[in-house]
């Protein structure tokens, strides 16, 4: 008894497409990484950058910290973080959630992480485990996180939806409602992105700026440095 064989024949124009698609799948599998931090327990330890101790010169380069012996007579303390200028005011906000502050001025004297985000943004959500861990780690210190919620899509504009999403995502820090995105564009100047994370020092100067996911170690180190 003969068994029928079904043969699938691809036309000549389809073959290169199929080969290219297969190659792209392989590249996508290599390039698509899991979020660096999906669990607060899995977060790498904070890089300690001690800039207050005399006789030690600490510099941060990328994700590594190099600590070298310095001249013991040199009593100057070198701050490894660049000063990117004073922070701009928050413009035409539509209110706050989970907060008793009205502006960033109210947080002067604290180290503040400011993040532009929107709850429907996949990449913004991927940064939250690290922010939650950072918030827990520095609870009780002069430290605060402010999430500036600048909706990309209409369905992300309702305060009730934002509050529900914040609760679901474990966002417990103050949220500034920037529904008209005045601050989103005003702060970032030129092209504006989700997510974008800044760290402000106690005087309100921008000392760290990163667009997108990643750079968690650098962010954590910047906060630790500024908190001293």
């Amino acid at each position: 008894m003969k068994r029928e064989r079904r043969v699938v024949v691809f036309s000549a124009e389809m073959k290169p497409l199929i080969a290219l698609a297969a190659l792209l799948l392989v590249v996508a599998a290599c390039g698509s990484k899991e979020p660096a931090n999906t669990d607060s327990d899995a977060i790498d330890p904070v890089i300690e950058v001690d800039v207050t101790e005399q006789g030690t010169d600490a510099t941060t380069t990328g994700s590594e910290t190099a600590v070298t012996e310095a001249d013991p007579d040199d009593t100057t303390v070198e701050d490894p973080l660049p000063n990117l200028g004073p922070v701009k005011p928050l413009r035409d906000l539509d209110g706050w959630l989970q907060s008793d502050i009205d502006s960033l001025e109210d947080l002067r004297g604290k180290v503040v992480v400011v993040q532009f985000w929107t709850f429907g943004c996949h990449n913004c959500k991927a940064t939250l485990p690290n922010l939650r861990a950072l918030y827990d780690r520095h609870r009780g210190e002069d430290f605060e996180i402010v999430g500036i919620h600048s909706p990309e899509f209409d369905y992300e504009q309702e305060p009730d939806a934002i509050a529900a999403a914040a609760s679901e995502l474990g966002v417990t820090w103050p949220i500034a409602l920037d529904t008209r995105k005045r601050t989103f564009f005003g702060w970032q100047g030129g092209p504006a992105y989700w997510p974008r994370t800044f760290v402000l020092d106690r005087e309100g100067n921008i000392r760290f700026d990163h667009i997108g996911e990643g750079a968690y170690e650098e962010l954590n180190a910047a906060v630790a440095t500024l908190l001293g």
Partner: protein
Amino acid sequence: MITALGEGISQSLLPCSWTLLVPAIALGLGTRNVAVLGVFAGTVIVTAWVVAAGWFVAPLWLAGAALLAGGLLWWRLGPTYIPAVLVGVGAAWAWRPCVGAELGKALTTAQHSPLDALGGLGAFLLGVIVVGLLIGLAVGALIRRRKGGRLENAGAAVAVVLGLTMILGIYPKIASMLAQWSTALWA
């Protein structure tokens, strides 16, 4: 660069990438001319790089105007170089990315050192564009095989409609509905 390319491919179907993906699908649907497709990809990369460096950021209506002009020329001349350039410029101007780790590195670098960012940004965009072109080419090949019809004008129509929705300001509402729907489906 490979990681950035992979990130572009893996993020190509997210709502943030649709302003690049849809024109790429349209172009892939309209032509199999590799040189025209290459000009489109190159135009998107260079234009997006200029935006990332902060040298020129276009409002959405201007992106729509470029797409509309590209679509109309495409309709009249066929999917040739000039329409591909205009559609590429419009798509890159309209692109409002959500940013992963690799694209984030490139965009952060572009703020102070644009040339150093070109490789990573280009690789990411290439990932998104190639997925769109492949979808368009594959759908086009299937339709041609079954019906034998001409598809050049279908891609032009997509570019015209996309451009009009941006000029009239209804694109954000349509994108919002689609994004909400796709997010719910994903969840």
